[in-house]
């Protein structure tokens, strides 16, 4: 049998997922013995045209990290879906939208306005905006269009497996790759590179179990006791609603779990599960007291849906009113130099 053919791609992501692969360290040598990397924009010089020239299903495994934010992201998602036998949503962005999907709260037109006009350090007297096509004497320059919403990979093409994490823990990545190399894969649709149950199962802190919270703090406001449950110290810790797999990394660094491993197996909406778990720990014997606790939960969407907004029930409530796959108004209008109405 020949060597496996492996592709890696980054769409709307920070590059952390590529680092997670580099972090395999000496296992990269083990990987190189059994697999050839045929596409990896972050590390190798293969171009999109090289993938286009490949035959359908000629790649054994494609690890796709990043959410779908631009037309280019969607184009390569379709391309890799066709060329790869197994397509994996690698990391939180591809699996559930992650931080880029928080852009869905206000949308891309606002993001461009904010970045190119609103910030105090921006000097853009003509209110320039990036256009999808721009004529230059040398020819036409193009940029991929921004979609109106950030989507998960599975919302664009069928996905075989997902590896959660922001980024996935390198030990778990190796575990998942070993399963692919050995041909020992679970049923399609499963998560790879996770442990059973939730982060609390791996958390070494002591939980008293009956302490309720009369106000919540943001992580920069307090230095928590490193031995006690962070939730009981008034920090919104997503551990109870987050799939185990990271080995409670953040918690061991005295930071609350932010929820990057997604919801546990029997839960569909991580934000809703976390919201209920947080409300249940509210202290107070009257409506007024409970309302005071509620007021200390700052930025609820960003707190509860930090990683899972794109695929969440919450976003689906709004998606039902928007058309999927449309390019944002700023670019569609081609108002590269014109003033944008606000």
């Amino acid at each position: 049998m020949g060597k496996l053919k492996l592709g890696v791609y980054w769409a709307a992501s920070c590059g952390g997922c590529d680092i997670a692969i580099v972090e395999l360290g000496e296992h990269l040598l083990d990987l190189a013995e059994v697999a050839d990397i045929v596409f990896w924009p972050a590390a190798t010089d293969f171009k999109c045209e090289d993938v286009e020239a490949m035959e359908s299903k000629s790649m054994d495994l494609a690890l796709f990290n990043g959410a779908i934010r631009t037309e280019e992201d969607a184009h390569i998602a379709h391309l890799l879906r066709d060329r790869a036998k197994v397509l994996v949503a690698f990391g939180s962005c591809a699996m559930e939208g992650c931080i880029p999907a928080l852009g869905n709260i206000k949308g891309p037109d606002y993001a461009l306005y904010r970045a190119l006009e609103e910030t105090p350090t921006t000097d853009n007297p003509h209110n320039w905006r990036p256009k999808t096509a721009f004529e230059m004497p040398e020819g036409t320059l193009t940029l991929p269009g921004l979609y109106k919403q950030v989507r998960t990979l599975a919302e664009v093409v069928p996905v075989d497996y997902s590896i959660p994490g922001c980024p996935p823990n390198h030990d778990q990545v190796w575990k998942a790759l070993s399963a692919v190399i050995a041909g020992d894969l679970p049923p399609t649709g499963s998560l790879l590179g996770v442990d059973s149950r939730t982060v609390c199962d791996q958390c070494p802190r002591t939980r008293e179990g009956k302490i309720r919270v009369s106000r919540f703090h943001r992580p920069h406001e307090v230095i928590p006791d490193p031995e006690r449950c962070l939730l009981e110290q008034g920090l919104v810790c997503a551990g109870p609603a987050t799939h185990a797999g990271c080995g409670a990394l953040c918690i061991k660094a005295n930071m609350p779990c932010r929820g990057c491993y997604g919801p546990p197996d029997s839960v569909s909406d991580q934000g809703a599960a976390l919201m209920d778990a947080i409300v249940a720990s509210f202290d107070g014997q009257s409506d007024a007291e409970i309302r005071q606790v509620l007021e200390t939960v700052v930025d609820p969407v960003g707190t509860f849906y930090r990683f899972s907004l794109a695929g969440s029930l919450l976003y689906r409530v709004r998606m039902s009113e928007l058309l999927s796959g449309q390019v944002c108004d700023t670019q569609a209008g081609g108002n590269g130099g014109e003033e944008v109405r606000s």
């Binding site: 149950r197 809703a272 209920d276 409300v279 709004r318």
Partner: protein, 335 residues
């Protein structure tokens, strides 16, 4: 008629030896507890004075066999009013402890833990209004793990832990997630397009109603008349059982708005159920408006024991509000 040979003073001593049972004989049967009892408004047969009196006489079998000892929901409405300062729910708990030792079981369902899923995260132990859940370390499928354990004496089946559990490990007979979702969507109600989606001419409202706000069979029959193409009523054991995921699920489908009806402040049977239900709805409203949607689409309303006739009015009020809701697509992006 009470025969003196039926009286068992050993039973009185047994109850009084339990924590909380020591005040059993201080009761002078004034009946103030029965007059303030919230359970009694719905279950006229329930009378805490009578139970204390019988237990104080030592009528062992009569007390242990009766279903009333399991009905007290420990709301403690009677406690501050008792002139003898008897913590009646604690005495009830002591009687139940004796009953459980004698082999009796709670007639109602209690919360159940799926130990294979439970992570021992302690969310449920904090959520429970009665402290009925503890974490215990035991062998599960061959490995030593810490999981939740429900005390069947203390659990009063409010379902607050079922909603709170972030792993889906808790369940309550007849109010599990699956059962509630199937009631929400029975006859394809959820699949019909709502008013905001341009389907129904009138807004479609899903109402979750605490079962203590509506109790008798006759009232449920009356509620059945309320069910229609635009109104779906689903009962919950307590408004604290409402699950944000279910509210959002309904909104992604054919419900334009979700109304949750709980008991009035201070009348909640399950101590903190109303507060939790209200907090969850407030939080869902906040995340909807943060996402540019109208927070009016989810509302919480209170309904006391004596104003149950208000339910249709509450439903038409939210339906009216929903007519004025703008969908987010029309909200200015730069706003």
């Amino acid at each position: 008629m009470i025969r003196s040979d039926q009286l068992d003073h050993g039973f009185v001593e047994e109850v009084m030896a339990e924590p909380g049972g020591q005040h059993l004989l201080t009761c002078w049967s004034c009946g103030t507890c029965a007059a303030t009892c919230i359970v009694r408004r719905y279950e006229p047969a329930f009378n805490p004075r009578l139970i204390l009196h019988k237990a104080g006489l030592g009528l062992r079998e009569e007390v242990l066999c009766c279903s009333e000892i399991w009905q007290c929901s420990a709301c403690d409405a009677c406690y501050p009013r008792c002139p003898k300062e008897i913590h009646i729910s604690e005495v009830m708990k002591a009687i139940r402890a004796v009953a459980i030792r004698a082999g009796y079981e709670s007639p109602g369902p209690t919360a159940e833990v799926d130990e294979t899923i439970c992570s021992g995260c302690a969310v449920c132990t904090r959520a429970c209004p009665y402290g009925a859940i503890e974490r215990v370390t035991k062998g599960v499928n061959g490995s030593e793990r810490t999981v939740a354990h429900v005390d069947r004496n203390l659990c009063l089946h409010c379902g607050i832990c079922v909603a709170a559990c972030p792993s889906g490990a808790m369940s309550l007979e007849s109010f599990s997630d699956r059962e509630l979702i199937s009631r929400m969507g029975a006859d394809g109600w959820l699949d019909k397009p709502g008013h905001l989606q341009g389907g129904s001419p009138e807004p479609r409202v899903l109402a979750f109603v605490c079962q203590w706000s509506i109790h008798s069979g006759a009232e449920w029959a009356w509620l059945d008349d309320l069910q229609s193409d635009t109104v779906r009523v689903v009962n919950l054991p307590c408004s604290g059982r409402v699950d944000p995921a279910m509210v959002l699920l309904a909104l992604t489908k054919g419900a334009d708005g979700v109304l949750v009806v709980g008991c009035k402040e201070g009348e909640c049977h399950y101590v903190r159920g109303t507060y939790l239900g209200r907090s969850k709805l407030a939080l869902i409203g906040q995340i909807l408006s943060q996402m540019g949607m109208d927070a009016e689409r989810v509302q919480f309303a209170e309904m006391g024991a004596l104003d149950r006739f208000r339910l249709p009015k509450l439903i038409s009020a939210i339906a009216n509000d929903l007519k004025g809701v703008r969908v987010s697509a029309q909200v200015a992006v730069m706003a």
